[in-house]
């Protein structure tokens, strides 16, 4: 059994036909349920549900406070390499793009880590392009060990690996795994992931599950909005998170809502996720998955992020740099443009002003 089996159940599902029959009453009753099933979740994703976005937000806020309190977990990304062996049409790191390539030496990782640690934030996500050759397992283990000296929680966002490799990383100190399916529509997936390892849809789909089996205690997943149909992609992301959280009770599940902005290259998104739909989906995620983390990165602008905090966001990056070596001496192109350009201190100050407690350190393994 894998999430693939769940996806297959919807191969012939008529989403438009279903949405046509969703009434306001159905949406309201789905919002008010204590436990939402997948059709309730789908009801909240239909266009009509936008009429009820305020009550969705009210409930999302209430269950977020009930489950998380007035807190927000902070983390920072560290890009250690932008070499990539895949050609993905939408990504700034794609191997086709002529950008300055850089991989941090272990000494440089240490320098960056020390700089990031000055913010007081104890949770870090380290990222690479997807190149097994340039950033092999041993290198990732070495980076992990360095980061572990400065941070209590280390998550990775690197190329998908086998369960055995993840077990090795887990032993080296990795606590969490972030891997985005990018798009759950297999046809679109094939069309935007032109070549390289990443073009294997099924292998990527099962990646978070392999991570869970390897022992990671935190999984962060999501679709990249802009590639596939917005409601369907949101639906499958939610089902994927639900599938994982049902099966791996010991894992904390998180969802991100990245949407395509103008990265390097000139990819035209197939679909545009507007702000209202963004909030609608975020609330639907919360209502369907009361305990999941909702992670909002600095792709979103300051004002928008501050408002999401008051609804149901639970995880923020703050003062992020998306260039390799960005915290000390940026030279490379960023993976994506940052919209919230405030430094971490400003973000933290704002969080406090909004009545929330910024959490610098949420986890330390013993």
């Amino acid at each position: 059994m894998s999430f693939l089996n769940v996806l297959r159940e919807y191969e012939d599902f008529d989403f438009d036909g279903y949405f046509k029959n969703v009434t306001d009453e159905m949406i309201i009753s789905s919002i008010n349920k204590k436990v939402l099933n997948k059709f309730d979740f789908l009801n909240l994703l239909c266009v009509k549900a936008k009429n009820h976005i305020e009550i969705m937000a009210q409930k999302a806020h209430e269950i977020t406070v009930a489950n998380f309190g007035y807190t927000i977990n902070l983390y920072l990304p560290i890009y250690v390499s932008n070499y990539c062996s895949s050609d993905c049409l939408y990504c700034g790191f794609s191997k086709k793009n002529k950008i300055h390539r850089k991989k941090l030496s272990l000494e440089e990782v240490e320098i960056e880590a020390k700089e990031i640690a000055k913010t007081g934030i104890k949770s870090i996500l380290f990222l690479t392009g997807e190149s097994r050759k340039v950033t092999p397992l041993e290198y990732l283990c070495d980076v992990t060990k360095i980061l572990k000296k400065h941070f209590s929680f280390v998550a990775i966002e690197v190329f998908p690996m086998s369960q055995e490799d993840y077990e090795i990383l887990f032993k080296a100190g990795v606590d969490g795994l972030t891997v985005y399916q990018e798009v759950y529509d297999k046809k679109i997936y094939k069309s935007v992931h032109v070549s390289g390892e990443k073009s294997n849809f099924e292998y990527r789909l099962d990646t978070p599950e392999r991570g869970a089996k390897a022992g990671f205690r935190s999984l962060n997943i999501g679709t990249l909005f802009g590639l596939g149909d917005i409601s369907q992609e949101a639906f499958f992301s939610g089902l994927h998170a639900r599938y994982l959280s049902d099966k791996y009770l010991e894992c904390e599940l998180g969802l991100s809502l990245p949407r395509i902005n103008d990265a390097e290259g000139d990819f035209k998104p197939n679909t545009i996720l507007d702000d209202v739909t963004f909030v609608q989906i975020m609330c639907a995620y919360r209502l369907f998955l009361p305990r999941a983390d909702i992670n909002i990165s600095t792709r979103e602008d300051a004002n928008f992020r501050d408002n999401l905090l008051g609804i149901c966001a639970t995880k923020f990056s703050a003062g992020s740099k998306t260039e390799v070596g960005g915290y000390t001496k940026a030279k490379t192109e960023p993976q994506f443009e940052i919209s919230d350009k405030r430094d971490s201190e400003e973000v933290i100050h704002r969080i406090q002003n909004l009545g929330y407690e910024p959490v610098y350190k949420n986890w330390e393994s013993i």
């Binding site: 309201i28 009753s29 919002i31 008010n32 349920k33 204590k34 436990v35 936008k50 976005i53 305020e54 009550i55 969705m56 937000a57 009210q58 409930k59 806020h61 209430e62 049902d246 009770l249 702000d275 209202v276 909030v279 004002n303 928008f304 408002n307 008051g310 609804i311």
Partner: protein, 253 residues
């Protein structure tokens, strides 16, 4: 239909044979309630005063669910299960491991152990447990056919004291959830079914009523009503209609 192991049942009310004043009432109760599964216990024969065998009062078409009451650990439960099978009771076994004589709480850890052994041995295992999500997952992995979390302490008639946990178990379970123990009133049985339980097991409340056949009928109707209510997806009152300070004002809708 309620599917347990490879059998299907139209009734979602499981009954028990304990505490009846007159064993002849068992048969009447089964007729009136439509219950198709009944629990029985195994004991050493009292040699000074051999009692009737309770099987003599149970019609042949009823599925017997021998329990392992009296077992204080997994090994004893396994032994009792094997005796029950040898006696021709079929492959159904309700695992009940209790070594807490004060409150009669089931020992989940030993129950998981016994489930593993018996499921491997071809039994259809129905473990009686303290409601606990992690235990339920482990039982699923161990090969249990259903889980039977308690509604409240055994014999207490206190109803669904564990309701919020039961709801989580029902939400998460891939095998049927049968609420066992503590249900004292048909309304409580209906409530268990409304929240999505697949069945309930009622013994004390029926057996100790002044008319077990009538009580069985009442529970049977309640279980059906609760089940139909669950299937009809009754809606609760809306709680989020009025927003005093809007959270989505910034969106300029």
């Amino acid at each position: 239909m309620l599917k347990i192991g490879d059998k299907e049942f139209s009734s979602r009310l499981l009954s028990g044979t304990g505490k009846f004043r007159d064993k002849n009432d068992i048969k009447k109760m089964l007729e009136k309630s439509g219950s198709q599964i009944i629990t029985i216990a195994l004991r050493r024969v009292n040699l000074e005063n051999p009692q009737d065998n309770v099987l003599n009062y149970i019609p042949k078409h009823i599925t017997l669910l021998p329990n392992t009451s009296g077992a204080r650990n997994a090994d004893e439960a396994v032994r009792i299960a094997n005796i029950a099978r040898e006696a021709g009771c079929g492959d159904f076994i309700k695992i009940e491991v209790i070594h807490d004589a004060k409150y009669l709480m089931p020992d989940n850890e030993e129950t998981i152990k016994a489930t593993k052994i018996l499921a491997k041995d071809g039994f259809t295992v129905l473990p009686y447990i303290m409601p606990d999500i992690v235990t339920c997952k482990k039982l699923e992995d161990a090969g249990a056919s259903v889980v039977m979390p308690l509604g409240s302490p055994i014999g207490s008639n206190a109803g669904l004291q564990t309701k919020s946990i039961l709801e989580m178990i029902i939400e998460n379970s891939n095998i049927p959830v049968i609420v066992d123990a503590g249900i004292g009133l048909p309304s409580q049985a209906a409530n268990a079914m409304e929240i999505g339980a697949d069945a309930v097991l009622i013994n004390t409340a029926i057996a100790t009523s002044s008319n077990p056949a009538l009580a069985g009928e009442a529970f049977s109707l309640a279980v059906r009503a609760g089940r139909i209510a669950y299937l009809s997806k009754l809606q609760k009152q809306s709680q989020y209609a009025n927003a005093s300070s809007p959270l989505t004002g910034f969106l300029n809708l």
